[in-house]
Amino acid sequence: MATHNLTTPLTDEVVMTLKSGDMVFLTGTIYTARDAAHKRLIEALDAGSPLPFEIKGALIYYVGPSPAPPGRPIGSCGPTTSYRMDTFAPRLHALGLKASIGKGKRSDEVKAAMQKYKAVYLGATGGAGALLSQCVTEAKVIAYEELGPEAIRELTVEKFPLLVINDAYGGELYTTPRLDLAGYE
């Protein structure tokens, strides 16, 4: 399993070098969006309005950070569970979203969209929000400020540690639960 030092935005060529199980240290700009922000993004697309950031080559981080204490750019900022964004993700991949960052399983539809549009799903360690916040050097709200922790933020990250969970070839890092070993079919 390889280790990649990547900078944003991501290109198709870079995405195709990533295999599930690879480690990624990400440097550059990523955008935060979770449940409520995704709903707004899709509403914007439906209305024919521009998105608040360039989606081509972008990475979306599923996170709702805790408030920034004085002297820090951001509070704790670990990943939230990704499946809740599954209904929105394929449409964003079709528009050029190259990666989502979160934790937990993705739907078959999202996995198919990642293969079709050359994108990956990256996992960050859940429940390590204080640690991950050390890799964020800047954060600013760029849209939907009224959503509070769910507002879209532009984050500048440095060597943000990630694992490739789903690659663009259909590969997956998550194990299949061994019900057979536990005595069930």
Binding site: D35, A36, V63, G64, P65, S66, P67, A68, P69, R72, G75, S76, C77, G78, T80, T81, Y83, K103, G104, K105, G123, T125, G126, G127, A128, G129, A130, L131, S133, Q134, L147, G148, P149, E150, L163, L173, Y174, T175, P177, R178, L179, L181, A182, G183, Y184
Partner: protein
């Protein structure tokens, strides 16, 4: 009759909300260290990050997890206690709001339909038990949404018994997979009624990791489930490994002749809770 000032309750609650979100209980930290020593590869790396995260959180005051949870309180209030200056519920709400604000903790409460954030993490979820004496004990849990979403309640048939209970729990944990931030702690409520079973399950999560159930028969069932669940190889964050669960905690209560209520409350590895007495 002992008088306790509502303000004193609020002060304690504000402080405990911050502490619970910044410092894991010793039993959880000890278990992380033991798991770190036993695991290999990606699973080991997860525990390394969790131990480092815990250290950093304690040093910097940044919360352990950005999901600082809904704030749940179990209160044991002595029958000989009078709270002056407000009800216990008001006092706890006031303290929780202050603690989440002053501690830069995330406010995660919202309207179920509009999804509009209430802005102050209120309301606190407060369960009060009246007990003999003049004590006043508060247990606070910061419960994240990711693991709560993986929890389930079901009404089994009495004939299904332990076999049915075990199968439901194992299949629930397998289906949840990497979603609830494993390795999890599984709180199980067996018996009571439709609303009692989940309360039993939630309260079960407070018992320390490794602390056996006082009833040896239940203790045996807990250990049996730990062993079975850890065969699933979901592992830390779903990456495979020896630890899918850190512990299983069961609480039981009598139920109706016709029923076998079962609740499975999933707790993520960041098992944040804190207890104080006034």
């Amino acid at each position: 009759m002992r008088t306790i000032l509502a303000k004193d309750i609020s002060d304690k609650v504000a402080a405990m909300c911050m502490e619970a979100n910044r410092k894991l209980p010793e039993d959880v930290l000890d278990k992380f260290a033991a798991c770190h020593a036993e695991e290999e590869g990606a699973a080991k790396e997860v525990f390394r990050q969790l131990l480092e995260n815990a250290k950093l959180s304690e040093e910097t005051g940044l919360p352990l997890c950005q999901d600082c949870g809904l704030a749940i309180f179990f209160v044991e209030m002595g029958n000989d206690v009078h709270v002056e200056g407000g009800t216990p519920r008001q006092a706890i709400d006031e303290g929780m709001i202050r603690g989440y604000k002053d501690g830069y903790l995330r406010k995660s409460a919202c309207d179920p339909f509009t999804r509009k954030n209430t802005g102050d993490n209120a309301p606190a979820i407060v369960h009060v038990d009246i007990v003999p004496g003049d004590g006043f004990k508060i247990i606070m849990m910061a419960k994240g949404g990711g693991s709560e979403n993986m929890s389930r309640v079901t009404m089994l048939s009495p004939a299904q018994g332990w076999k049915g209970i075990k199968e439901f729990v194992v299949r629930r944990v397998a289906e949840a997979g990497p979603n609830p931030c494993p390795p999890t702690i599984i709180g199980i409520g067996i018996g009571g009624t439709f609303e009692v079973a989940p309360m039993l399950a939630k309260k079960a999560l407070i018992r320390a990791i490794g602390e056996p159930h006082p009833d040896p028969a239940i203790d045996k069932l807990e250990k049996e489930l730990v062993e079975t669940l850890n065969k699933l190889n979901i592992g830390p964050m779903g990456l495979g490994g020896k630890y899918t669960t850190l512990d299983v905690k069961i609480n039981v209560a009598p139920c109706h002749l016709a029923s076998l209520p079962l609740a499975v409350n999933v707790q993520c590895h960041s098992a944040r809770h804190k207890e104080v007495e006034l």
